[in-house]
Amino acid sequence: MTDTTGLVTRAEYCVVAVAECFRGDGERLANPIGTIPMIGGRLARASFEPDLVMTDGEATLVAGPRPVGETTEPKVIEAWNPYRSMFDIVWSGRRHVMMGASQLDRFGNQNFAFVGPWDRPKAQLLGFRGAPGNTIQNTTSYWIPAHSPKVFVPQVDVVSGVGYDRAAELGPEASRFHEIRRVVTDLGVLDFETPEHSMRLRSVHPGITVDEVVEATGFDLVVGDDVEVTRDPTPDELAIIRDVVDPTGLREREVPNP
């Protein structure tokens, strides 16, 4: 039996906050990219969102709450999903992806392509990958493991993922499938549930102050009078995280406990 009376770690709050992003998604492809996002997505499916569909990161859709990282647990394959099928899912809108970002602005414009000039970047990063298609065709959330003014910038160098101001300029038809739902970081949770869809502080993780988040953000965050504290995992959720989905503790390596 897992001892759930011990302290909940920062990484575990991040995992729960990620899982909450997928609440209500039903029978959709939950496609969290990264260690804590994958743990969070699998937690959501193993608890309150059982109909979620998930990939093995390659060419199949797999059942069951498999552990992240190296594992000898057999895969239960539900379906074949080569890259070509993945685009069919994305473009038909039956997906919620959680991506990373090297830069994010207050409207959720994202950059992970490169930093600096177009023809001779200071730092070549991932390229546009699937970000333009993801953001304009299906629900997108972001995971930022180290919240800092270097990531949360007034203006991104390149718009790879489309934010709310750019989407609004396109008009209601072209932007009707655009949704940036949440941004989860090591400090708290952000969303865009404001009149002009600018970024708002939704909750801080226990032990983090609102001022710390504001200081770590390079633009003016919308901060209400009553910022919530990220909820605790239930004992059942904690057991799923610690015993089933991440028994080797990879989450603690991505976000070390302070």
Binding site: A59, W80, R84, R120, Q124, F128, L170, E173
Partner: protein, 283 residues
Amino acid sequence: MGDKRITEDDVVAELADGMTIGIGGWGSRRKPMSLVRAIARSSLTDLTLVSYGGPDVGLLCATGKLRRVVYAFVSLDSIPLEPHFRVARQSGAVSTLELDEGMFLLGLQAAAWRVPFLPTRVGLGSDLVARQPEIRTVTSPYDDAEELVAAPALTLDAALIHMHRGDLGGNGQYLNVDPYFDDLFCMAAEKRFMSVERIVATDDLLAGGALQTLHINRLMTDGIVEAPFGAHFTECVPDYGRDEAFQQEYAATAKSPEAWAAWQAQYLDCGGHDDYRTVVGLR
């Protein structure tokens, strides 16, 4: 059915300076590396490379073969960023057409179907469209009048792919989990060359896998090269996995021109694919 067998050098002889060449596979998976190395050793120059990029892009950047890269990512998978491509980009040595992964697929499909573009919502609002005049929009002629991106056809002078098995006539079979977009690369190209791990008799192909694995038919290919370990050091499961140690060594050479020169002398200047197999110990 004719015999389409040729060598890596024959493939290079079909290519010319300034050509636009598409390379199949994905990242550091099932890349036609014996063909890529043959290009790297050749005098070809000024090429445009169209690729779901892996070490094919990095190697041809490092050997100065490329003028332009058309890409959505360039990754070694277990090493997320291709270091030789980064060096080339950050020094301004290559120009780029930046694409979304899915827009890339539509570009190949458009070229294969011989239409100038395919409409999509992908790219709207992003800098792919806002900052690249090569990518334009189109207005739906129907009542919705919606503005969409016209993903431009990626028409290729030549395509290079690597499959697990093939026959003399140029039919090809993949045995891993994903066909990638190798068929589209071939159909988008004027000249189409396929390397394979092994050439087998046509009626032996189905002994290796289900009907659906016969993904490349001979209408798609002009030449077939038998190249065991032809995808090394990229992944070619089930025949062999990625050679991670070798890939790390390759990636580390981006740190200094001296390290790169030593790698080039050992693994490129050693000769053709048979010599490479001997040097690396691939038997």
